[in-house]
């Protein structure tokens, strides 16, 4: 009886934990659940076009560089509109059909000026499976449940009036241990905050160097603890996600202030302006040590991908370089691809998907030497990093969200009926 009760209690806990958190296979934040741009999905489409393998496409109310977030059968995306981008949108769509389930709008409370290439819907939202946290370049930050109920809202520009920059903020928030990590490094009041995801109030706020920075924080599982890594042009710093206490700092000039760091599970892989660094963090809190440097691997804009012990980065010449993650040695170099690239590439099922600004997605087979499997064209501007979930790729253009995947049986039946 006691064993039965224990089993039942365990079963209930498992059921609760699965219902209360993101499912495996969800795409919950910038560059996916681990922030690495990698998905475990298989059977993803290789070829698509206006008449092929597009499950659905949905018109969006405005531009956005933010990537889609997928939780269960819901896709979330942010956008901005208006002559001065003063309208901020959070949308929820049904992932099987693309039907819009709800939309919430905010009025921008912060600075809306930016470089014409970017916009106020630049940071990608993040979800814990129950809630969506949407940050905009204006400093407007909203927490919503998956049905569109507003849980809390912050105007960071009202709280800290000098935040922002005239180029446009873009770093995305991440979640760690119930804390929403909000990066707001800028020429004004520059900081990173740990915000209680339940209440929206600050748990901590640490001052950062006053400078431009677009790097999304990265969560590194360092032994039995989590480090929140904040990379800027001159340093990478690890913070305790609960308290914001600095654990270590690695100073190095010329680190990237656009693409994000990542890990292969052992090393920290850090893009810099003219090289790439692999660091081994000390498990005792000591400073990391440099394991290798590679001048072959450059990632000026799009974040690199670490996939199956190899690091892939697309350089300014629109060439993908691949180095092995252990020693940093060049493995191969692709031919020039059809760029330019703003979106960070994603990897899954032995393939690398590279979405160009002009809407050409090159699908590279990376199981051995690089082989172009397909170049798929959608004649729109694509700046957002894609998402992978439910056997589909989600590509977000300036005007639409595309769900790319083989038609499901239900979809085929519906199409047949419509004919």
């Amino acid at each position: 009886m006691r064993q039965w009760l224990a089993n039942a209690w365990f079963g209930l806990l498992v059921a609760m934990s699965t219902s209360l958190s993101a499912f495996a296979g969800d795409w919950t934040q910038f560059r996916g659940p681990k922030g690495t741009g990698v998905s475990d999905e298989t059977g993803l489409p290789v070829r698509w076009g206006p008449d092929e393998n597009i499950r659905w496409q949905a018109a969006l109310p405005g531009r956005g560089l933010s990537g889609p977030v997928v939780v269960g059968q819901r896709v979330f995306v942010t956008a901005c509109s208006g002559p001065l981008q003063e309208r901020l949108h959070v949308l929820c769509l049904d992932s099987p059909s693309g039907k819009r389930l709800w939309e919430r709008q905010l009025w921008a409370t912060g600075h809306t000026m930016c470089h014409p290439k970017t916009c106020m819907a630049a940071p990608t939202p993040v979800s814990d499976g129950e809630r969506l946290f949407a940050l905009f370049a204006t400093g407007d930050l909203a927490a919503l449940d998956l049905d569109g109920n507003l849980l809390w809202y912050r105007s960071l520009a009202q709280d800290y009036p000098t935040i922002g920059n005239n180029v446009g903020m873009a770093a995305s928030p991440i979640l760690c241990q119930g804390v929403l990590i909000v990066p707001l490094e800028c020429p004004g009041e520059s900081f990173v905050a740990g915000i209680d995801k339940a209440t929206g109030r600050n748990r901590w706020k640490v001052e950062r160097r006053r400078d431009l920075n677009w790097v999304t924080p990265f969560l590194f599982h360092n032994g039995d603890r989590d480090d929140v890594l904040i990379q800027s042009a001159n340093e990478i710093t690890a913070y305790d996600p609960q308290t914001g206490v600095k654990r270590w700092n690695f100073e190095q000039t010329g680190l990237s202030n656009i693409p994000s760091p990542m890990t292969d599970g052992r090393l920290l892989l850090i893009p810099a302006s003219d090289q790439f660094l692999a660091l081994r963090p000390g498990t005792d809190g000591s400073k990391p040590t440099v394991v290798w440097r590679s001048s072959k691997l450059k990632a000026p804009f799009a974040s690199p991908v670490v996939y199956q012990d190899r690091v892939y980065a697309v350089n300014g010449a629109e060439v993908v370089n691949c180095v092995d993650a252990i020693e940093g040695k060049l493995v191969w170099q692709s031919k020039r691809l059809s760029g330019p690239f703003s979106a960070s590439p994603v990897a899954a099922d032995g393939k690398l998907y590279l979405v160009s600004e002009k809407g050409t997605t090159t699908v590279l087979d990376i199981t051995s030497e690089p082989r172009v499997l397909a170049t798929n064209r959608l004649e729109e501007t694509f700046l957002a990093s894609p998402a992978i979930a439910g056997g589909a790729l989600y590509l977000r253009s300036d005007a639409r969200l595309y769900c790319i995947g083989e038609k499901t049986k239900a979809g085929k039946d519906k199409a047949t009926r419509m004919r």
Partner: protein, 398 residues
């Protein structure tokens, strides 16, 4: 007969009173919920109470819409976003459930210009989703609407008509329409499109006057800004402007105020030309605005450099950011012009970046109402050593 009706009448009165009371109770309940939302303040204080109130207001459905919209009229920015998202949730869910919105009352709310522009616009947008004819019914009367977005749509609608006249060769009709539209338009894209169309008809318009751009300035500089120290330093113009007094500028050189008239179509003052190319330098520009009556204004500037703006000696805006882009109105602050003489001072700091794209040292500034229209005022030309930037003398340069 009468006696038999008395209980009925009493009953009806009772029901009516009951309804009144319940309506009043509901309003009172909604008011309390709205108060909780309006109590949110800085750094997330009040979020939990506001979230509960938000859910309860949304649960009330379309019956809460008017009260929510009315509450938006005077809501501060944080509360406004709570309230507008509640309006969205109520209306969206009602339409999804085929529940009618209170269309007549919403339309009345939109028509009532004593309501705030953003809340009227929000009501309008939900009306438009339910009634596709609403734009044609309301927009024709909104060319001079006090709400920015409704006015914008009204201008866009009329502009489409004026351009059709142009295409048909009705130049007189198009010109008359475009001239009226030029007066009404506030958004830069519309103003400049209309001005361009008018130019094609050989009708000149005063864009600088329309925007309220100040083009006549008194300038002084350079003061120091090496190491970015000048932005925080209070140089003599910030202590009080005396146009006849000399000041100690960069490297100890004596600098003087001098008059300057910007010729740029959008009032840009190129300090590299006016004062002379300087890196690590600070300049001040001063203007006197004579207002016939006291009026609230927005003082808006564009500059690639770090700026501070002062109105009647009071700091009203600062932003210390260099060479990350310039846009008209990127620096915006509010203030009040008093009746009579007002002093407007802008401090513009240049840093020491050597990049080609970091050499600009300039600004433009306008005084306007909240929609971006010029306000009644006269800018007094100082008349001391007036120069024209076409000649580009460098008075004041050490």
């Amino acid at each position: 007969m009468k006696t038999t009706h008395v209980p009925v009448q009493i009953g009806l009165i009772g029901v009516a009173l009951g309804l009144l009371c319940s309506g009043s109770a509901a309003r009172s309940e909604s008011s309390a919920l709205i108060d909780r939302i309006k109590a949110v303040s800085s750094e997330g204080q009040g979020n939990e109470a506001a979230a509960k109130a938000w859910r309860e207001l949304v649960r009330q459905g379309p019956g809460a819409l008017l009260e929510l919209l009315t509450a938006l009229n005077d809501a501060k920015p944080i509360a406004a976003n709570w309230l507008r998202s509640a309006v969205d949730a109520v209306a969206e869910r009602a339409l999804a459930d085929n529940v009618a919105l209170p269309a007549a009352r919403l339309e009345q709310f939109v028509r009532d210009t004593s309501n705030a522009g953003p809340s009227r616009r929000l009501a309008y947008e939900w009306l438009a989703r339910a009634d596709s004819a609403i734009a044609e019914r309301l927009l024709p009367g909104m060319l001079n609407d006090p709400g920015a977005e409704l006015r914008r749509d009204a201008v866009a609608r009329e502009l489409a008509g004026a351009r059709q006249l142009l295409e048909r060769g009705d130049n007189a009709g198009a010109s008359a329409s475009l001239q009226a539209l030029f007066k009404a338009a506030r958004d830069r894209d519309q103003v400049e499109q209309i001005a361009k169309d008018l130019k094609s008809l050989n009708v000149a318009v005063d864009i600088r006057g329309h925007y309220g751009l100040i083009t006549e300035w008194m300038l002084i500089g350079p003061f120091d800004n090496r190491g970015g120290q000048g932005f925080a330093e209070v140089f003599s113009p910030e202590k009080g402007v005396d146009l006849k007094a000399a000041s100690k500028g960069k490297n100890g050189a004596e600098v003087h105020w001098f008059g300057y008239q910007a010729q740029d179509p959008l009032g840009l003052v190129d300090l590299n030309k006016a004062i002379g190319k300087n890196m690590g330098a600070t300049a001040y520009a001063f203007a006197t605005a004579i207002a016939p009556v006291e009026c609230p204004v927005e003082i808006r500037a564009g500059s690639n450099n770090a700026v501070k703006m002062f109105l009647n000696g009071k700091l009203i805006y600062f932003r210390e950011e260099y060479h990350h882009g310039m846009r008209m109105d990127q620096h915006t602050s509010t203030g009040t012009l008093k009746a009579g003489r007002n002093e407007i001072l802008i401090k513009v700091c240049q840093n020491e970046q050597v990049d080609d794209w970091a050499q600009t040292w300039s600004f433009q500034l306008r005084v306007c109402d909240s929609l971006g229209g010029a306000v009644p005022m006269a800018v007094a030309a100082a008349g001391v050593n007036d120069v024209n930037d076409a000649a580009a003398p460098k008075k004041g340069q050490p």
